[in-house]
Every structure is written in structure tokens, then in C-alpha cells.
């Protein structure tokens, strides 16, 4: 809805003046908000690159100069976080793949095929999106620790498998938990996409005698490739960034299976207070994968929208 072209029709001289003043005001507000959204991020990055004397004595958002510059914080944080980063990826990638597949199937069964009573099932899925995780936390802890300790059962298996360690078995209950609670929201994302597809697509295939499995594999899967990308990125970010489940199911931030989010809130703390250089460096490293994904995703998302509206 840009209406810059139609402005010139009225009284050119007065409008130009008016528009210029307005434009300046308009762009000033836009730039102020750019500052608002970027300032905490810039402050964090600049602080991560400073020595502790520079952190204490310079303006937090100014870049480090001369002696004040150091990579020691990033180095320390990297060494402290590298194994946790592996844990986070080992948890988030399989969980996201299973999640996206199951969610796509569910959305297909509830959208592209019509049957009576599906509204009831759908509502149960939708409520699942809005359940605060606290409401299942005590059962979850009891289930994975006492009733079905799958982590302990799998540990001997995991310790003989090459490339992974025995303690990685503690990530299995986390993966299953993330899959189970991630299905509803991913289902909704797929569903809104499937609803936008023309119904004739499925109807025509049905008249040709295609089975439901064939419709899913031959028509729906290929056509929903862009949506798989969108949901994958969304859900990966969610699981990678998640804190509460890891906090509940992993013994402590010091255990070797701790995902990265678990370590950030306590890193760089000593009796003399928080070392913000280290803390910011750790926060920056932890956020880096999702920031990279997001920047790449912004483009891809635009493409997805273009193909959708075409």
C-alpha cells in the first residue's frame, strides 16, 4: 500500500514541502527504533570483546579500543561450551526431523482427508499448543527418572557406538519429550499451508483411484517442500533455544550431557559477581546458530511467500 505516487496530483509545491518534513520525521522514528532493537545486541557483542578493565571503565556499547580489546572471553566461552553445543545439536536435529515428519502427516490426515469427528481431534491438538509445560513437569520428571528410565537403559548401548558417548543417552528422553510437545504447533503450521492448497488437487487424485498413502507421497510431500523448510527452521530454533525441559530432565548445568542453554545462566559467575565479558561472549556464541539460521531464513521465507502468492 504505497501511496507516494498519487500525492503529486493535488498542489505540488505545498505537498512536496509537507511530505519532506513528514518523511524526515518518519525516518527519524524508524531509525530510533533500529537503535532500540539493536542496542542490547551491540552492547553484548562489544562487551564480549573487552577486557574486564575495559568493561568496567568504558561505555558498554562502544567498541573496544587498543588495550581494551581481547578474544580471551570468546576463547574461554568456546572451550567451556563446545561439548554442550554438540549436545544441543544431537538433541535438536533428530527431534526436529521426527517432529516435522509426524506433524506433516497429522496435518495431512486432518486437513486433506475429510471425515466426521475430525474437528474433535483437531481441537485436542490445538489445546496441546497452549498447555504450559509446568502442567506436565512433575509427571515428566517422574516418568523419565523413575517409571521408564530410558537414559539408563540405553547408556551401555550408547557407550559402544562410535562417535557418541555413553552420557549422550540422557538426550533420548529429551528428544522424545520435544517431539511429543512439538507436534501440535508444527501440525498447525502445516495445516494452514495445506488449507491454502486447492481442494481439487486431492479430489482429482481420488477420482483417479489413488490411495491416501499415494496422495500423501506423490502429491502432498513434493508440494509442501517449502513448508518443510519453514517448519524445520521454526522448530529447530524452538528446541535449540528451549530451557525448561533440559532444566528438569538433566541433573545439573555441570553434567556432561547439559545442552547449551543450561550453562549460560551461570557461566562467568564468581564470588566477586558476574564477569559480563565472559557472560556476553557465551550468550553470543549460544545465539550464533539461530541468528545465522534467521538471517538465511528471512530470505527463504520471502521466497516461500512469493511462490505462495503467485
Amino acid at each position: 500500500m504505497s501511496q507516494s505516487t498519487s500525492d503529486t496530483n493535488i498542489d505540488v509545491a505545498s505537498v512536496v514541502e509537507d511530505v519532506n518534513l513528514r518523511r524526515i520525521g518518519h525516518y527519524t522514528i524508524v531509525i530510533l527504533f533500529l537503535g532500540f532493537f539493536l542496542l542490547p545486541l551491540i552492547t553484548g557483542i562489544m562487551t564480549a570483546l573487552k577486557t574486564s578493565t575495559a568493561v568496567a571503565n568504558t561505555l558498554p556499547f562502544m567498541p573496544p579500543l587498543g588495550d581494551g580489546f581481547t578474544l580471551a572471553n570468546l576463547e574461554y566461552a568456546f572451550n567451556r561450551l563446545s561439548y554442550a553445543f554438540v549436545n544441543s545439536l544431537l538433541m535438536a536435529i533428530p527431534a526436529t526431523i521426527i517432529n516435522v515428519l509426524l506433524a506433516s502427516m497429522a496435518a495431512f490426515g486432518l486437513t486433506m482427508v475429510r471425515w466426521r469427528g475430525q474437528m474433535g481431534i483437531l481441537v485436542l491438538f490445538l489445546i496441546g499448543i497452549f498447555v504450559p509445560y509446568q502442567a506436565v513437569l512433575v509427571p515428566l520428571a517422574r516418568f523419565w527418572n523413575n517409571i521408564f528410565p530410558i537414559a539408563d537403559m540405553l547408556e551401555p548401548v550408547f557407550s559402544v557406538v562410535p562417535l557418541i558417548q555413553g552420557y549422550h543417552s540422557a538426550l533420548v528422553p529429551l528428544i522424545i519429550t520435544h517431539v511429543a510437545y512439538g507436534i501440535p504447533i508444527c501440525m498447525l503450521l502445516f495445516r494452514s499451508y495445506y488449507q491454502s492448497l486447492p481442494n481439487s488437487l486431492v479430489e482429482a487424485a481420488k477420482i483417479d483411484g489413488a490411495s491416501i498413502t499415494k496422495i500423501y507421497r506423490r502429491i502432498i510431500l513434493p508440494i509442501s517442500k517449502p513448508m518443510f523448510g519453514v517448519v524445520f527452521i521454526y522448530q529447530f530454533t524452538q528446541i535449540y533455544n528451549e530451557f525448561l525441559f533440559s532444566f528438569t530432565l538433566v541433573t545439573s548445568a555441570n553434567s556432561s550431557e547439559a545442552p547449551i542453554t543450561l550453562i549460560i545462566p551461570t557461566i562467568g559467575t564468581s564470588t566477586s559477581g558476574i564477569d559480563f565479558g565472559i557472560r556476553m561472549a557465551a550468550a553470543f556464541l549460544a545465539a550464533l546458530p539461530t541468528i545465522i539460521l534467521y538471517v538465511a531464513f528471512a530470505e527463504q521465507f520471502a521466497k516461500g511467500l512469493e511462490t505462495e502468492s503467485a
Binding site: 518518519h26 542490547p40 495431512f108 471425515w115 485436542l124 507436534i183 557472560r279
Partner: protein, 320 residues
């Protein structure tokens, strides 16, 4: 929705409910129905999700009626509402419930308002719109845990950015997160920073779906741009606002991560305790499992109270 109706009628035309058809034919019809054929697709995810969500809620409810605490096993022999009574009589529970409400309403309404403002700002013919939009939305990519660290530093009483501004303006420096009177506002502000970009995107999509000629018509009638937005454009964003509000409330309910990560401790800054932090503290720090489960049940009721009107609204609109 119309296609839905037609398929249902064709289905019922084939439906073998009339007399005279033996049960084998009925069974064959049933096994060939779309319901049965599609059941592996929605059924498997439904069972996994159902056990985790509804099984979990049921188990949690059962535990909340017991006296389960410490390392003993829960005993379901005597069930009562003792834990709920205890919670409602507890001063810290009532404080947490009140602060939870303030957080939910304050955060959601401010984010919606700011998001709408930003959407109109960017919608109004501006250059580099995509880049600016990406930057406004950037905090959304961060986790609560990371955002908490960034704002802990921004709010730092020593050399934090906000206090540098405040002292530069000639005021005394403020202990943003240490003062119980302003800590909750400070938390809400940080969360608004993270999520108002989301509301903006939802509103922008809504604005772009509106036809251009409304703007032209308003212009011909001599309405100013501001007036056009306030009177004509914004009222049409009702659907977008409801959707955005619900998702924002969802984020607010997850504010536990943020509050925990600020202190790195079960106890959030004074004056910002909410039901989620109280529940986790009671259950996982003090081992008061049944009490924690009771608080969790009430938190669940709170979020159902938010979602039920939304689902009904969506259903009435026919967009469920």
C-alpha cells in the same frame, strides 16, 4: 468450508446406515472409509501427543490431590484438595498469581500496541523495508536465556547502559531488577523488546492483504493518512490482532526461562515471581511435588481461560 459440506453429503449418501445391508458390507465400507484409511497419518502423532499432553495433565492432576513430597513414592490412597487450599491461603502464591496476571496483560497489550505502530510505520511507503523489518524481528531469533543475559547487562546497576542514560540525564542511577517496585516493569520491557517484532510481522501481513483502493477512496474523500489508518485500516485487523495476542500470551506463559536465567537461580528478582517460577521452585527445589502439581494445575486453568474464548471465536469465524 463449502467443499467440506459437499464431501460430507456425498459420504452420507454412501453411508450404509440403511437397513438390509449385512454387517460384512458395513465393515467393508468402514474399513474403506477415509477415517480408517487416514488414521495412520493423524493417529500416530495423536497418540504420542495425547499421552504426553493429556496423560501428563491427568497424572499431574492426580499427584496434586496427594501429599507427595520428598523422595518417597506418591501414595494415591487418600486424595483431597489440601494442596489447593494451601496455595490459596499462601501469601506468596497470591502475589505470584497477581504478578502473573500483570505480566500477561501488560506484556501482551504493550507488544500489540507497539507492533501495530511499527507495522503502520513500515507500511507507509518506506525504503529498505525488508532490511528494517528483519532487524526489528531479530530479537525473536534469540532464546529467553540469551535475552535475559543481554538485559541483565543493560540493567546492571554498575555500568549498565540504562543507568548511563539515566545518570547522563541528571537522575540517580536505578537498581532496575533489584527494586521490587520496578523489577516487573523492567522484565516486561525486556520481553516487549524481544517480541513486539513478531506482532509487527503479523500486522504487516494483515495490512498487505487489504486492498489498495480503500486508501484511494479515503484520500478522495479528503481523509488524512492518520485518520485513514485509525478509522478504516486498523479496525480491519481484528483477526490478526486476536491471533497475535494469543501467541504473545503463549510467550508470556513461558517467561519462566527468562526469569530463571536472569538470576541463574530458582528465585527470580523480587517482585517478579510468577506461577511458573513458584511451581518449579516448590517442586524441584523443595521437593514439594504435590504442591507444585497443584500450582501447575491452576496455571493450566489460567491458560485454558485464555485459549477457550479464542478457539470459540475462531470456530464462529469458520476458520478453525
Amino acid at each position: 468450508m463449502t467443499t467440506h459440506d459437499t464431501t460430507e453429503t456425498t459420504e452420507s449418501a454412501v453411508d450404509p446406515s440403511e437397513e438390509g445391508i449385512d454387517w460384512q458390507t458395513k465393515l467393508r465400507y468402514f474399513l474403506n472409509s477415509d477415517f480408517v484409511r487416514s488414521s495412520p497419518y493423524w493417529g500416530i502423532p495423536f497418540i504420542i501427543m495425547g499421552i504426553a499432553v493429556y496423560g501428563g495433565i491427568g497424572y499431574n492432576l492426580a499427584i496434586s490431590f496427594t501429599d507427595y513430597a520428598g523422595i518417597a513414592r506418591p501414595s494415591f490412597s487418600s486424595l483431597d484438595l489440601e494442596m489447593y487450599r494451601r496455595a490459596l491461603a499462601d501469601e506468596s502464591f497470591r502475589a505470584a498469581a497477581f504478578q502473573n496476571f500483570v505480566l500477561l496483560v501488560g506484556f501482551t497489550s504493550i507488544s500489540l500496541g507497539l507492533g501495530l505502530f511499527l507495522a503502520v510505520l513500515l507500511d507507509y511507503g518506506i525504503r529498505y523495508k525488508e532490511t528494517i523489518q528483519t532487524i526489528y524481528l531479530l530479537p525473536m531469533a534469540l532464546s529467553f536465556v540469551v535475552t535475559a543475559q543481554l538485559w541483565l547487562w543493560m540493567y546492571s546497576p554498575g555500568n549498565g547502559v540504562l543507568n548511563i542514560f539515566v545518570t547522563a540525564l541528571g537522575f540517580d542511577s536505578i537498581d532496575w531488577l533489584g527494586d521490587p517496585r520496578i523489577a516487573l516493569a523492567a522484565v516486561i520491557f525486556a520481553l516487549v523488546w524481544q517480541f513486539s517484532g513478531y506482532a509487527m510481522v503479523v500486522f504487516l501481513a494483515g495490512l498487505q492483504s487489504l486492498p489498495d483502493d480503500q486508501f484511494e477512496a479515503a484520500k478522495v474523500d479528503g481523509a488524512s493518512t492518520t485518520k485513514t489508518y485509525v478509522r478504516i485500516i486498523v479496525p480491519q485487523l481484528k483477526q490478526a490482532s486476536v491471533g497475535a495476542a494469543v501467541v504473545l500470551m503463549l510467550f508470556a506463559l513461558k517467561a519462566f526461562d527468562f526469569l530463571y536465567a536472569i538470576t541463574g537461580n530458582y528465585r527470580p528478582p523480587n517482585g517478579t515471581d510468577i506461577l511458573a517460577t513458584l511451581m518449579v521452585r516448590e517442586a524441584f527445589q523443595y521437593g514439594q511435588w504435590a504442591y507444585g502439581a497443584a500450582i501447575a494445575t491452576m496455571l493450566l486453568l489460567l491458560s485454558l481461560a485464555v485459549i477457550a474464548p479464542y478457539l470459540i471465536f475462531q470456530h464462529r469465524q469458520g476458520s478453525l
